[in-house]
Subunit: 257 residues, 2 copies
């Protein structure tokens, strides 16, 4: 049995979510609520001591790290609509792109996302309540990030992240101008993992990502959004930024049934 | 035919070097000289436009990124002394560790290594000559790093990297106190990729890594150094920091024959 602990269909949680939908695998979704720091509750840090989603429970074994989960699903269910090329050279190209998301692209976009949205999510707490939550976060860098989301990121960091975002957009556009999909002729985990970060950039960074400036990137985003698996995922999976509940939300839900 | 473009047996170059030796694969080594910026020469940026080693040429196809090259070698030569577990759960654990090296551990150690050693490597150049070289570096972040290696890293960055190194040492020691190898019962790419960064820390960060403070980490390092493949690699592959030549060094050499 597969149980995915995740947030809504965006960023790192989207990677295994979309992979599960593309591969047609039924799973139980347990969607945590970041606005009440549910992923740092003791019940969840027993599952992932880092207090991070996504995490996949497969028959009692827990796999963490979004990209690792995606490759795990390929290793365990290779026959179910493969999202990893059969050719090793193309697999290597796929991994260069998934690695680039994890080491570069996701961080710059994430900082700006946190600056604009995450601070607001916890406005309801007093400074003391906020600090009580933050102190329980297992990863030091995440504590720093939460405090910055509330009290402000250094301007030189924001400037540097915006430079990296502009570079990332140029890199994706250049690649998609020469290839239909990032790793080559086929849609793969490279596309899923980059889409997890890039989808929404047209809205969030409209001055950089739009039909005129980045036609290939916009077209690629739309092609992925149009896929039946992607539409089913968005239809079934609530977005916590829309919901803004103050309640834990991790009750089990059958997904992709 | 396999040709590996690399530096000496340390850091990212060590990862595919040791993997090739462990798997018993013959290859041609083309070892570039960082002290003359050979990896930014046009002949090499034709092979890897990022101007980075290692890069593997396999029958005319080029694979870049050290960790991706290691997994590629497993994909193409699965029968040659596997360095990747056959169990998908253990493979996921391996990938969590190789990913951690690439996203966290390698960067903090690298900054201090650059601070202490790389600046000295290019002292022979005038500021103007140095800048001429740096301007040709394809990756912006690498330009910044070379300039800092010559003119100084910000103290707050050095302090933060030292904090991360101390955390990394504690993390490795804790894991190796409970498991003989990082990913579980067997020696895998997780060990090779972490060893690439950790070997030498007893010398470079002796106040953190030593027999008293980190007995399991030191023992693990010695067990890997004692492996025949590792000894053969070190015997056959010159270390550029010992050599300090001003000449390009990329002539082809038969390795692991």
């Amino acid at each position: 049995m597969l149980t995915l602990y995740c947030f809504g269909p965006g960023a790192n949680s989207l990677k295994p979510l979309l992979t599960l939908y593309e591969k047609g695998l039924e799973f139980t979704r347990r969607q945590l609520n970041p606005a009440v720091f549910e992923h740092h509750e003791p019940w969840f840090t027993k599952i992932n001591p880092n207090g991070q989603v996504p995490a996949l429970d497969h028959d009692g074994k827990v796999i963490t790290e979004s990209t690792v989960i995606c490759e795990y699903l390929e290793d365990v269910f290779p026959g179910a609509n493969p999202m990893r090329p059969s050719d090793p050279y193309l697999t290597a190209q796929m991994r260069i792109w998934t690695k680039w998301v994890d080491e570069y692209f996701c961080w710059c976009v994430s900082t700006i996302g946190w600056q604009r949205m995450v601070g607001r999510m916890v406005e309801k707490y007093s400074d003391e309540e906020f600090e009580e939550h933050v102190k329980r976060i297992p990863i030091y860098e995440q504590q720093v990030k939460w405090r910055r989301a509330r009290y402000g990121f250094p301007q030189d960091l924001i400037d540097e992240e915006m430079r990296k975002i502009a570079f990332s957009v140029r890199k994706l556009e250049a690649r998609l101008a020469q290839s239909p999909w990032l790793a080559g002729p086929d849609y793969t985990l490279a596309d899923i993992c980059n889409f997890a970060i890039a989808n929404g950039m047209e809205r969030m960074f409209g001055e950089l990502v739009n039909e005129q400036a980045t036609p290939h990137l916009v077209d690629w985003t739309r092609r992925i959004n149009a896929r039946p698996a992607c539409q089913k995922m968005f239809a079934e999976t609530p977005n916590e930024f829309a919901r803004r509940s103050d309640e834990p939300t991790s009750e089990p839900v059958k997904a992709n049934a």
